[in-house]
C-alpha cells in the first residue's frame, strides 16, 4: 500500500538522516522517499498501520499529517480567537501594554515640555510630530520584542531568520527615520543602525548565527535607509508621508507577532514567561528618553541651531 505523509519541518540533511534512521529496519515499511515537505511510503498494511508511521515521525519532533498543513485563514483565525480566548492571553496584552507605554511616554513628555521647553518658540512645530512618531516606534518595537521574549520556544532556522530580520529592519527603519528627520543623516543612520542591529542580534540569536547575521544585516540596512528617507524627503511632504510609513511599519510588526504565534506557539508545547508591564515600561522609557535627548540636544537639532 502507498501513502503520503506531510512533514513540513524537514529543513536539512540532519532531519533527513534522522527520519531515514527511524524508518530503516521497521517491519512493514517496504520503501520510502523523503521529499521537501512530505514522505512517500510503500508499506505492508498487515505489518504496520498508517497511523504508526505518523507516530514514528512525531516521535522525532516533526509535525506529521495525512493532509497538507494549512495555515488558518483570516475568518478561521477570528473564529478560533473567539472560541479560544484563553489561548491568546499574551497576545491580548500586546495592545493594552502598547497603549499603556505610548500614553506613559506622552504624559512624561508633556510634563517635561511644560517644565523645560514651554518658552522655546516653535518647539512643538519642530519636535511635536517627531516625538509622537518616536513614541509610536518605541512602544511598537518594545511590545513586539516583549511578545517574542514571552515564549521560550525552539525556532527553526527559517523562522529565526525571519524574526531577526524583521526586528532589525523595522527598528532601524522606524527609529532611523525619526532621528534622521530631527538630526540629519549621520545621527539618524547611526541611531537606527545601532539600535536595529542590537535588536536584530538579541532576537535573531534564537536560531544561532544565521539569525544573528540576518538581524545585523537588516539593522544596518533599515537604520541607514530609514534616515535616508527622512533626509531626502525632508523638503518634499515628509509629514504627509510619515503616517503611511508608520502605519505600514506597524502592520509589519503586527504581522511578525502573528507569524510568531502561528509558527512557533500555536499547538506546541511552549513555555510562557512574559515580563511584567513595569519592566517593559521602564526599558521603553529609558530608551525613549535617551533618543529624546539626542533629538533635542544632539548635533544638527533645531534647539542647537536655534
Amino acid at each position: 500500500m502507498k501513502t503520503i505523509i506531510y512533514v513540513p519541518d524537514i529543513e536539512c540533511d540532519s532531519c533527513v538522516k534522522l527520519l531515514e534512521r527511524s524508518f530503516k529496519n521497521k517491519e512493514g515499511i517496504n520503501s520510502f522517499k523523503i521529499k521537501e515537505d512530505y514522505i512517500e511510503f510503500e508499506f505492508n498494511e498487515n505489518l504496520i498501520k498508517k497511523e504508526q508511521l505518523i507516530d514514528i515521525i512525531k516521535k522525532q519532533n516533526f509535525r506529521a499529517s495525512f493532509t497538507p498543513f494549512e495555515r488558518k485563514n483570516w475568518s478561521e483565525r477570528i473564529r478560533h480567537y473567539k472560541e479560544n480566548k484563553h489561548k491568546y492571553k499574551i497576545e491580548q496584552k500586546i495592545i493594552t501594554y502598547t497603549l499603556g507605554i505610548f500614553l506613559t511616554l506622552l504624559i512624561l513628555e508633556v510634563i517635561l515640555y511644560l517644565t523645560l521647553f514651554k518658552d522655546i518658540p516653535n518647539f512643538i512645530q519642530n519636535y511635536g510630530w517627531w516625538i509622537f512618531y518616536l513614541n509610536i516606534s518605541i512602544s511598537v518595537i518594545s511590545l513586539g520584542t516583549w511578545h517574542f521574549f514571552a515564549y521560550r520556544a525552539k525556532y527553526t532556522c527559517m523562522t529565526g531568520m525571519m524574526i531577526g530580520m524583521t526586528f532589525g529592519m523595522q527598528t532601524g527603519m522606524m527609529l532611523g527615520a525619526v532621528l534622521g528627520a530631527t538630526n540629519g543623516f549621520f545621527i539618524g543612520a547611526m541611531a537606527g543602525m545601532l539600535l536595529g542591529t542590537f535588536i536584530g542580534i538579541i532576537t535573531g540569536k534564537c536560531c544561532g548565527v544565521m539569525g544573528i547575521m540576518e538581524g545585523m544585516m537588516a539593522g544596518v540596512m533599515g537604520g541607514t535607509m530609514g534616515s535616508m528617507i527622512s533626509v531626502m524627503m525632508f523638503s518634499d511632504h515628509l509629514l504627509y508621508f510619515m503616517p503611511f510609513y508608520m502605519v505600514i511599519n506597524i502592520i509589519i510588526m503586527w504581522g511578525l507577532s502573528y507569524m510568531l504565534y502561528e509558527e512557533v506557539v500555536e499547538d506546541k508545547d511552549v513555555i510562557k514567561k512574559p515580563t511584567d508591564f513595569i519592566t517593559v515600561a521602564i526599558i521603553s522609557i529609558i530608551a525613549a528618553f535617551i533618543l529624546l535627548a539626542i533629538m533635542i540636544y544632539g548635533p544638527k537639532s533645531f534647539l542647537i541651531n536655534f
Binding site: C12, S14, N61, K154, C157, G208
Partner: protein, 67 residues
Amino acid sequence: MKQIIIKIKGMHCKSCETLIKDSLEELEDVKVLDISGKKGLATIEYNESLTSLSKIKDIIKQEGYKI
C-alpha cells in the same frame, strides 16, 4: 558513572541534537543529559568500565560533527 561535557561543532538544529543523542544512547550505559546545538555542548554520562571517551568521540565524528 562519569559525567563529561563535550564541545561539538556543526550542530545547527534540533535534528542534529536528536541524531547525536540517539547514536550515543545506543551505546551501553551512556546517557545524554543535555545537548544544545546553540551552545555546541553535550553533557554525557557514561559508565567508564563499559564505554571509553574515545568511543563516544568516534561516534560523534562518525555522524559528521567535529569535536
